[in-house]
């Protein structure tokens, strides 16, 4: 058995699957059921001065036959009295000592922060997550993403928390910023013990076109909310990777954003996250999804020879490079498996209308063919093909040296031209 034990900034949990601070972690009763289902940790629904919510609160993007590929909410932090939340943290921690319970906090003044941090520690929380990310409702009051978007404020409040805390302080970052490195570095200057990202992306989920009203609607009106769910995963992966390869970032990262399966979690880990946090997929399917996340990841690790999570963490980070560092002479061409092809010709349409006009049709068969001399290996045909493994991208041994844009530009500056790109010289195609 591979070991799924997660060690995150000194917080140990049975596995790297934590519930993110959100409706699934609203109460102790929910979190205990989640732990029974297999979740390794939970970040409590953000505690602060209790708020009043509106109805409705959620919206979603459905695509084709798939529901909830994206999700947004205009719900605020916990609407429950702070003492109830802290009492329940105590109860949960007492019954589930091996699971990670993190108190998510969001208040304004230094006194309030100090009070909340003390009460969290007294309740037995394993760590604090400072919500500097919420992009709706709270930011207008100077909290949430309003903090995350102002590096100086982010640094200052982090410093307060670190000074007052005896347990790890995690700073949850907003993606609603030009460069994620800025708030991250600010938090680290403030002494943060870990970072978590991404919080939700500022969004309007859609418009009811028959009522000309944005969604979700609250008595004929709406407001911008926070976008999350499977559709945001690529954005989250990028931001996690940006921090993971930032030499100034020397603390663990908790990856958040569209995690639904064990594969998603492995992707985050390989790009540098130490654990993951999950919300939307639980809102869609419930706590039970963690069972397959655990089994799938354990099986994957065993089959791939990873004994511990640490063996996987950051494996892909060094391979995340700048465009100018990529090899201009790496060459792929598309190959269509004629036996597998069902003749839908979507590859032809896509190539013809949106790529390089190199997939052609023939008389007497619906199977298209690739003009390998013209194919630029863009992947579009493979992406649109509905048949598994029908179109593959074959590597061409063109005998050319590795040339990056940086090499090419440097040579140009010297007055030389390097062979680069597919049609610059004879290739080894038959």
């Amino acid at each position: 058995m591979a070991d799924l034990t997660s060690r995150f900034a000194g917080i140990t949990s049975p596995n790297p699957f934590w519930l993110a601070s959100a409706p699934p972690t609203n109460t102790g009763e929910q979190i205990m059921r989640a732990f029974d289902a297999g979740w390794g940790g939970a970040v409590w629904k953000t505690i602060g001065q209790p708020i009043i919510n509106v109805t409705s609160r959620f919206g979603a993007v459905h695509y084709g036959r798939s529901r909830v590929i994206g999700f947004n909410n205009i719900e605020l932090i916990s609407d429950r009295p702070t003492e109830v939340n802290f009492k329940e943290i105590y109860e949960v921690k007492k019954r589930y000592p091996k699971h990670a319970v993190i108190a998510s906090l969001m208040v304004e003044s230094r006194e309030e922060w100090r009070d909340m941090i003390k009460r969290s520690i007294d309740a037995g929380a394993d760590g604090l997550e400072l919500n500097f990310g919420c992009p709706h409702g709270m930011c207008e009051r100077g909290m949430g993403s309003a903090v995350g978007q102002e590096p100086a404020v982010c640094e200052e409040i982090t410093r307060w928390a670190v000074e007052d805390s005896t347990i790890p302080v995690i700073i949850k970052l907003t993606p609603n910023t030009g460069d994620i490195n800025e708030p991250a570095e600010a938090a680290l200057r403030g002494g943060a013990h870990a970072l978590s990202l991404i919080n939700t992306i500022k969004s309007i989920i859609g418009v009811d076109i028959y009522k000309a009203t944005p969604q979700p609607q609250v008595r004929g009106a709406s407001t911008n909310g926070g976008y999350c769910g499977p559709a945001v995963k690529p954005i989250a992966l990028h931001m996690v990777a940006q921090l993971a390869r930032n030499p100034l970032v020397n603390v663990p990262i908790s990856g958040i954003g569209g995690v639904e399966t064990w594969q998603d979690a492995v992707e985050f880990l390989m790009l540098g996250a130490t654990n993951v946090q999950v919300c939307t997929s639980v809102m869609h399917y419930g706590y039970r999804i963690v069972e397959d996340m655990i089994e799938g990841m354990e099986r994957f690790m065993r089959e791939q020879g990873y004994a511990t999570l640490e063996d996987m963490i950051g494996l892909a980070t060094p391979k995340y490079k700048e465009w100018g560092e990529l090899d201009l002479n790496y060459e792929l061409i598309a190959h269509i498996d004629e036996e597998k092809c069902i003749g839908c010709q979507l590859c032809h349409t896509a190539c013809w209308d949106a790529a390089h006009q190199c997939i052609h049709l023939r008389e007497d068969t619906r199977v298209p063919y690739v003009d390998t001399h013209e194919c630029i290996g863009c992947n579009l045909c493979q992406i649109v093909c509905p048949v598994p493994d029908c179109i593959t991208m074959l590597e061409v041994d063109n005998g050319k040296p590795q040339v990056t844009w940086q090499d090419y530009a440097d040579a140009l500056a010297r007055g030389e031209t390097l062979p680069a790109g597919k049609h610059t010289s004879q290739t080894a195609l038959s």
Partner: protein, 457 residues
């Protein structure tokens, strides 16, 4: 309201009376119920939206299927119906009666991916029913061009032809010998696919374009001669379908309980009060689609024992394999390699079909009847589904029209016959195919008439 409002409304009352009466077909319910809107959207979203899609090529009317399906997926059901009806104005009935298994759905690329094909017929039904329910019309009668066309027979071929001609600005008059128009859609299609009232609903929708006058109860060849039509009108379209059921010409065929299959189906679809109560055992002679329709209908009406008698084996039946599979699942039995010789009749009532065994002669492949002892398939109802007569002889007076085994020979591009004034389509020209073929051929003839008259000037 359109210019034909008066004749249409006059004609409607007898149809309505029949359509609303208690008829046996009402006991046969839809075997392929309409998809719910949620299921329709889900199914539409499965469509791959193929380039140059095979389903389009498999449709005799060339409906742009991926386009209409995509419109269902986007919630544009009216636009979807427009695409369907633009290609095939009989899209409502075709959605239900087409053998999609061997047409569009049979050619869906999903069949090569071990996945069920898109349910194209059911999606077409959702879209067309949506438009009908809202009374949406998409095509207007063309600017009148002063030309007039007579159409013989008010079945799918003539309706498709007349509608297309109306769009081009023609005035059309359809002559129908029955009181009930609609052709086989009204009198012949299996009730678990299409009921009479739906056929009439479609007919009224088609006539609603205007410029089409329907004269029922008028037999061309009788009071109105074809030559007379040809001189009164600029062109004549012949879409009168097939004739009477064929009989074997053996003793006992006139006994009570022996019927031609097509005539029998017409009665159960259109005759108020017609019943099969008391029938214990039925035998249908034939192996084509009419025979399979009959056995399925009789089982559906609760006849306890229904058998189909066919001369050859199961694999050589001309009826669709998928329909026969359904029939067997519904409890129909096949009696194969059986050649009916005559009938067992008691007191004027049929009691069985006397049959000889047949076999295929080795080498020659010929079917031969065994000399051995005949056997009896018991039945108190016997239907003959061994083909219908061809009506080509009605055209004997028109010298230029050529016939091929009773079928009217037409130019495959235009539907024009050997006498340029006459065009033809549907069963009388193709020998008996699907509604969708008739629709395609009717439309083809309309284009042919238009091109011919334009060229003639």
């Amino acid at each position: 309201m359109t210019s034909n409002a008066t004749p249409l409304e006059q004609a409607q009352s007898p149809w309505r009376e029949i359509a609303e009466s208690e008829r046996l077909e009402r006991e046969l319910h839809d075997r392929k119920p309409q998809l719910s809107s949620g299921n329709a959207v889900a199914e539409a979203n499965r469509c791959l939206y193929c380039h140059d899609a095979p389903c389009i090529k498999a449709c005799p009317t060339g409906i742009d299927i991926p386009t209409f399906i995509r419109k269902i997926a986007t919630g544009n059901l009216s636009g979807s119906a427009r695409v369907i009806l633009d290609a095939n104005i009989l899209g409502l009935s075709c959605a239900r009666v087409c053998p999609t298994e061997v047409l569009c759905e049979g050619d869906c690329v999903y069949n090569h991916l071990d996945q069920p094909p898109i349910q194209i017929g059911k999606l077409q039904r959702v879209a067309t029913e949506h438009a009908y329910a809202r009374g949406e019309r998409f095509f207007e009668r063309g600017e009148p061009n002063g030309r007039r066309v007579a159409l013989v027979g008010a079945g799918p071929a003539s309706l498709a032809c007349a509608h297309e001609l109306a769009r081009l600005g023609y005035l059309c008059t359809i002559f129908e010998k029955r009181d009930l128009p609609g052709g086989l859609n009204s009198t012949g299609v299996a009730p678990y696919k299409l009921h009479l009232e739906d056929s009439l609903r479609e007919l009224e929708y088609i006539l609603g374009i205007g410029g089409i006058t329907l004269q029922t109860g008028v037999e061309v060849g009788g009071e109105v001669g074809l030559e007379a039509l040809a001189s009164d009108f600029d062109a004549v379209f012949i879409g009168f379908g097939l004739g009477e059921d064929g009989f074997m010409g053996v003793e006992g065929e006139d006994a009570a309980g022996v019927h031609g299959a097509v005539a029998f189906i017409e009665r159960l679809k259109t005759e108020p009060g017609f019943s099969v109560a008391g029938v214990r055992s039925a035998a249908i002679i034939g192996g084509g689609n009419t025979a399979i329709d009959c056995v399925r209908e009789l089982r559906g009406l609760g006849v306890p024992r229904v058998q189909m008698i066919y001369r050859r084996d199961e694999a050589t039946m001309s009826g669709y394999a998928h329909e026969w599979t359904y029939a067997k699942a519904e409890g129909v039995q096949g009696v194969f390699h059986a050649q009916p010789l005559g009938f067992v009749v008691e007191a004027g009532q049929v009691r069985g079909v006397e049959c000889a065994r047949t076999r295929v002669e080795e080498g020659s492949g010929r079917l031969v009847v065994d000399a051995g002892e005949p056997f009896v398939v018991e039945a108190d109802l016997v239907l003959l589904a061994i083909g219908q007569s061809k009506l080509g002889s009605l055209l004997a007076d028109i010298e230029g029209i050529q016939l091929d085994r009773g079928r009217v020979v037409v130019d495959p591009a235009t539907g024009q016959t050997g006498d340029p004034r006459f065009f033809a389509g549907g069963d009388c020209a193709n020998g008996g195919k699907e509604v969708v073929n008739a629709a395609a051929e009717g439309k083809r003839a309309a284009r042919g008439i238009h091109a011919w008259l334009d060229a003639r000037g």
